[in-house]
């Protein structure tokens, strides 16, 4: 199957440089991740403080009908004179709450199923992988729509549960593959030989090495959950008395905002969704690049080098390019490698130096 970033993860684990203690959070550095985290923090603040920041009551009608954005109403007003900005501010909480709750539930499910499948092996693995493969191919969105519309009371909790129930499979599959590659490692065997219990091995030997994969799965599920929940609100399946960005779009659509040219009614909500989604994807790219250094986009000094076949530039931030033209260095990982003999190009005949794993 696909050899994605996460599959190579454990193999390419970069050696930790001097600041070993902070190494686990290294993926938090880098421009992409930081941008993503900043945007996410912005929305989290809105989610917490939204109802207090909102200048108007989102339900309150006024005589300012369908006004374009102005200083009194930054995002304009709806057909019944409600303030769009207030609706969006108040709705942020619901969006993030459902997104993160669904993400957490789905991640717990996927860790339980994926790691046990990978670690236990045998018949348990067969059954659990079959289960996750089945959930993987059944189209999620229609299933969510069907379940949600059968239920009478569609509150945020229920929507989050339904989304989690239909979206854990991808994470479980990736985790299973990772666990499979980990469970025969020497250090796991050593732990087993010293008589550690299976649960202890899973929790303390295997899980820490899955952190990046679990994090990336979590972020991915949150993206999916946010999109699904907004979709449910938009098509009117979720409870529309509860504000979230999808509800704003639902009212815009059912009041013919498009035909009336009221772009301010649906543009802000969509842009918020896109911004939040982009922020989460950026964080995920950061995690992916942390796991698989090959994916890093060239920045800074290495930008001058034209990427060529066989050339594996790996996040080289300090050391200048010293390689002879046409020569292809392989898998050089440490960014802080001291310039000196180690930087001399090896002749193609000699075995290339491996970094100590």
């Amino acid at each position: 199957m696909s050899v994605t970033a996460t599959d190579v993860a454990v193999l390419d684990d970069p050696p930790t440089p001097a600041a070993a203690g902070r190494a686990r959070f290294r993926f938090l550095r880098g421009g992409k991740t930081r941008t993503g985290l900043l945007i996410l923090a912005f929305f989290v603040i809105l989610a917490v403080a939204g109802p207090w920041l909102a200048p108007y009551d989102p339900d309150a009608m006024s005589d300012q009908l369908l006004q374009p954005p102005s200083s009194a109403h930054w995002f304009g007003t709806t057909q019944t004179g409600q303030d769009v900005l207030s609706q969006i501010l108040v709705g942020t909480r619901g969006v993030l709450f459902v997104g993160f709750l669904a993400g957490i539930l789905a991640t717990v499910l996927s860790v339980l199923i994926g790691v046990s499948a990978g670690f236990l092996g045998g018949a348990a693995d067969e059954i659990l992988s079959m289960l996750s493969n089945i959930f993987l191919v059944i189209p999620g969105l229609p299933l969510i729509i069907i379940i949600a519309s059968f239920v009478e009371d569609t509150g945020d909790l229920l929507i989050a549960a339904v989304i989690a129930l239909t979206s854990w499979a991808w994470g479980a599959r990736v985790l299973r593959a990772q666990t499979l590659s980990l469970r025969r490692r020497d250090y796991v065997e050593a732990a087993r030989a010293t008589g550690e219990s299976t649960w202890r091995i899973i929790l303390f030997e295997v899980m820490p090495n899955l952190t990046a994969v679990i994090a990336s799965g979590f972020v991915g599920t949150v993206i999916f959950a946010v999109l699904s929940e907004i979709t449910l609100a938009f098509i009117g399946v979720a409870d529309i008395s509860h504000w979230n960005w999808g509800t704003v779009l639902f009212w815009a659509q059912s009041n013919q905002a498009l035909a009336q040219g009221a772009w301010w009614w649906f543009v802000p909500a969509g842009l918020c969704i896109a911004l939040l989604g982009t922020a989460l994807s950026l964080i995920n790219f950061g995690i992916d690049e942390f796991v698989n250094p090959r994916l890093r986009t060239a920045t800074g000094s290495s930008r001058k080098v034209r990427m060529r076949v066989g050339f594996t530039p790996v996040a080289r931030t300090t050391a200048p390019e010293k390689t002879a033209p046409g020569f292809t260095p392989v898998a050089r990982t440490t960014a802080s490698a001291a310039p000196g003999p180690a930087e001399e190009p090896e002749s193609p005949g000699t075995p290339s130096k491996e970094h100590s794993a």
Partner: protein, 326 residues
């Protein structure tokens, strides 16, 4: 051959699981949705409709869950999906068979275009890493984070309301009678442009990213270096050596993302009032037309499974390793 048989067995089990889920959902729901529906329709529901509803929710008296289950299967095998309320008394099967071709055409054509285009761009941007094409990545990330339906709304606002270049809704000109002639086909194509472009734009980012990442991984493989060292032209190395191997995961990823794309297409249809299966689902949800909803879910799932099977067969043709195991 063994590989294909395994896949067929897997999809058969999945289909069984989907059908069983479909059977169980109404029965697991709390409350009495039938009463709610009857009062909602205020006596306009036929007795036969009420009977079929009670069968759907498993509220028939003196019928065990097992006999309900076997009944459900025998109806299903007869192609009987119940009666739709919104189009009463049209059978659900008929409603779906009218709208299915629209969805199949829309999904089929747009998926093909976005796969080819996205993979192509991914090959180039993965090969020439660090070129201006990398600047495209944030843009595609942004676009892929936009929900399909919102992109559709924007497309309507700009190209149908503001500039009135394309129609805002429908699958063909209402003055035409559906037939396989030029005026109808051209009208259908014309109406399909906006929904199609929306889907391609939303779906393409995933292909670009996947292909780029695979190209990056593959292009540092030894055989690519050897091909380069032999002095083959860059084009040849890029397509026949690197891209050829990098495309495999993209094809198997194709199968997995299909469900997602179909879900997105349903939304685009809802926004554009496109006469496909997604729009039917939208109407069914609005009217709480449970038989139609369930029928739509079943058909969507079965079609996705069939498409997955096709993708697996294509994969077996392309990747000799899967055949060797047999």
């Amino acid at each position: 051959m063994k590989y294909i048989l395994q896949r067929i067995a897997f999809y058969a089990i999945t289909a069984w699981a989907a059908i069983t889920i479909n059977f169980l959902i109404p029965r697991l729901m709390p409350g009495d949705p039938v009463e709610a529906l009857i009062s909602r329709y205020q006596g306009q529901l036929d007795t036969s409709a009420i009977a079929s509803l009670q069968a759907l929710f498993g509220l028939e008296e003196n019928a065990s869950i097992w006999s309900q289950y076997t009944d459900y299967w025998s109806h299903l095998l007869d192609g009987d999906l119940g009666l739709s309320f919104t189009f009463f008394p049209t059978p659900v099967g008929e409603v779906i068979s009218q709208s299915l071709p629209w969805t199949l055409a829309l999904v089929g054509i747009t998926t093909l275009i976005s796969f080819l285009l996205g993979t192509g761009i991914g090959v180039y941007s993965g090969w020439r890493r660090g070129s201006w094409l990398d600047g495209l990545l944030p843009v595609t990330t942004f676009i892929s984070a936009i929900p399909y339906f919102w992109l559709g709304l924007i497309a309507i606002a700009v190209f149908a309301v503001k500039w009135q270049i394309f129609p805002a809704a429908g699958g063909y000109d209402n003055s035409l009678v559906p037939a396989f002639d030029w005026p109808f086909v051209s009208s259908a194509l014309y109406h399909g442009v906006l929904p199609g472009v929306t889907i391609v734009l939303s779906a393409i980012a995933g292909w670009i990213l996947g292909m780029r990442n695979m190209m990056v991984t593959v292009s540092s493989e030894d055989y690519v270096m050897v091909a380069q060292a032999k002095g083959l032209s860059e084009r040849r190395v890029m397509f026949s050596y690197a891209a050829r191997n990098a495309v495999l995961p993209n094809i198997s990823g194709f199968a997995l993302s299909l469900g997602f794309i179909v879900g997105g297409t349903l939304l685009v249809e809802m926004v554009f009032s496109y006469p496909g299966i997604g729009y039917q689902l939208f109407q069914a949800v609005g009217a709480k037309d449970y038989p139609l909803m369930q029928g739509v879910f079943l058909i969507i799932t079965l079609s996705v499974l069939a498409a997955n099977l096709l993708a697996d067969m294509a994969y077996a043709l392309l990747d000799p390793r899967t055949r060797k195991e047999a």
